[in-house]
């Protein structure tokens, strides 16, 4: 059985270290369910690339979680599916295709054919880090971030795909855009893409 490394974070938070994104997702699903059932108490659960932060936990939580085995993995088909209608016209699409060593249409085909899923959110409200691209397709961030990336821009950084919910400065390599609204506080569920959501980029 594999046990976890759990690090205390200040007085009332813990950080669970995972081996990969699959394990983060397994923990997230399990911890969320245990909060719903009233078994665990925390204010915030923040998945990261290879960690899960629980904030606002009672004393002793780190020691308790450290004794637990990794929860069973979740099936790739489990999360809700959101289709993002995408136009592949990003300023860096040619650059990404050449880094991948393929023609632009093949780069677009890859982006549309790869099943993606929200690993975690961060950077801005509703900004989801989508995993699913193989590590070999990872691209570095721009050396100098653009001062303004328009809302809806779809970009790549490392092996993550991200969609900017609002205009902001940004260093992701832009491959396209969508007109869908990623974050809207007037909606019952403000974020379109939440951790665990499966995502497809559908060419328009």
């Amino acid at each position: 059985m594999m046990f976890m490394r759990v690090r205390p974070v200040g007085r009332s938070a813990v950080l669970i270290e995972c081996h990969d994104g699959d394990e983060v997702e397994a923990w997230r699903v399990s911890l969320w369910r245990r909060r719903e059932s009233g078994e665990l108490r925390f204010v915030d659960i923040v998945p990261g690339a290879t960690t899960i932060l629980l904030d606002g936990v009672p004393p002793g939580t780190a020691a308790e979680l450290a004794r637990e085995p990794v929860p069973p993995g979740v099936s790739a088909e489990e999360g809700p599916l959101v289709e993002i209608s995408a136009t592949f016209d990003g300023e860096d699409l040619d650059d990404v295709a050449s880094r991948w060593g393929v023609p632009v249409p093949e780069a677009v085909r890859r982006l549309a054919a790869t099943p993606l899923a929200v690993a975690f959110c961060g950077f801005a409200p509703g900004f989801a880090y989508l995993r699913g691209l193989p590590d070999e397709w990872a691209v570095p961030r721009l050396a100098a971030p653009r001062p303004r990336v328009p809302a809806g821009s779809i970009g790549l950084a490392g092996s993550y795909v991200g969609i900017y919910p609002a205009a902001s400065p940004g260093g992701w390599r832009l491959v396209g855009h969508t007109d869908q609204k990623l974050f809207d506080v007037r909606r019952k569920a403000p974020a379109l893409l939440t951790p665990g959501t499966r995502v497809r980029l559908v060419p328009r």
């Binding site: 974070v9 938070a13 204010v43 915030d44 801005a124 900004f127 974050f183």
Partner: protein, 278 residues
């Protein structure tokens, strides 16, 4: 209704923030000095979740279109109603009168509570202005109207004790080491005094001093961060996350400050030392 006569450099509506949405990338936000906001709310009989105003260094001036009870807490500043200094922390403002909070003589941020609370539209359960993400009401500008809510909460039994704003003397912050203490020579954090940098804001308090030495190279994959996290970017100068901090960060966190409220009242140039808590 309140009309903003003088907004000051940065006056915002603040309550206790919007925790619970960090997994969507939504910062907690909320009053930087929650002790002061709670005290001001208690003085006027508001529940602790009521929204008040947070000023920055220069105070603000507000015309009350209706009579209301008000309280000011936090930074030490001269408070006037229609130019007459007010001696008490809680007082009545007549209809048409102007409440003026002067510049902070000690501390940085004054908190203004009005009986009934500042009743702007809540966003994700909070009326706080988040200066990082832009959620919540806009910062105050001259001429802006602010609605006052109805006093529905039963008056608090006792107001919270007055906490003196920090002096300009050295500030000693209790810090719990970790989670990424294995990336640093942690002794460095306690060996030297730092100075609060003028580029500090509601997102974080930047410190200037001797750079912390990394013992581990490489990049940290993005991970969740908490209020009070002492993040150490590439230049080695620590940054303490305050209310509007991002939900995730890519720089290692050497430790977590136990109580960030004193930082809300600490001016740029203030000396900061860290003390380890087990």
């Amino acid at each position: 209704m309140i009309t903003v006569m003088r907004a000051g450099p940065l006056t915002t509506v603040q309550d206790l923030g919007r925790p619970g949405f960090a997994h969507l990338g939504v910062p907690r936000s909320g009053a930087l000095d929650q002790v002061a906001l709670r005290r001001a709310n208690a003085l006027v009989g508001n529940g602790m979740g009521a929204a008040g105003l947070e000023t920055t260094l220069m105070g603000c001036a507000l015309r009350f279109e209706v009579a209301a009870r008000a309280a000011v807490a936090g930074a030490e500043a001269v408070v006037r109603v229609d130019k007459q200094p007010v001696a008490e922390d809680v007082f009545e403002v007549p209809a048409g009168a102007v409440l003026d909070i002067g510049r902070a003589r000690r501390g940085v941020r004054s908190y203004v509570a009005v009986a009934g609370g500042i009743d702007v539209e809540p966003v994700l359960g909070s009326r706080s202005t988040d200066t990082l993400s832009g959620l919540g009401p806009p910062r105050l500008t001259d001429g802006l109207s602010l609605p006052i809510g109805l006093l529905v909460d039963s008056p608090s039994a006792a107001a919270l004790p007055r906490v003196a704003p920090s002096t300009d003397g050295p500030l000693v912050l209790g810090v719990r080491i970790g989670p990424r203490d294995d990336w640093f020579e942690t002794a460095g954090l306690f060996a030297e005094a730092y100075e609060i940098s003028p580029v500090s804001n509601r997102v974080g308090c930047r410190l200037a001093g001797s750079a912390l030495t990394r013992t581990k190279a490489g990049e940290l994959p993005s991970e969740g961060v908490v209020l009070g996290a002492v993040q150490v970017p590439a230049d080695g100068q620590p940054l303490i996350f305050l209310a509007d901090h991002p939900t995730t960060g890519g720089y290692p966190v050497i430790g977590v400050v136990e109580d960030v409220a004193p930082l809300a009242q600490a001016r740029p140039g203030t000396t900061v030392r860290f003390r380890a808590i087990d």
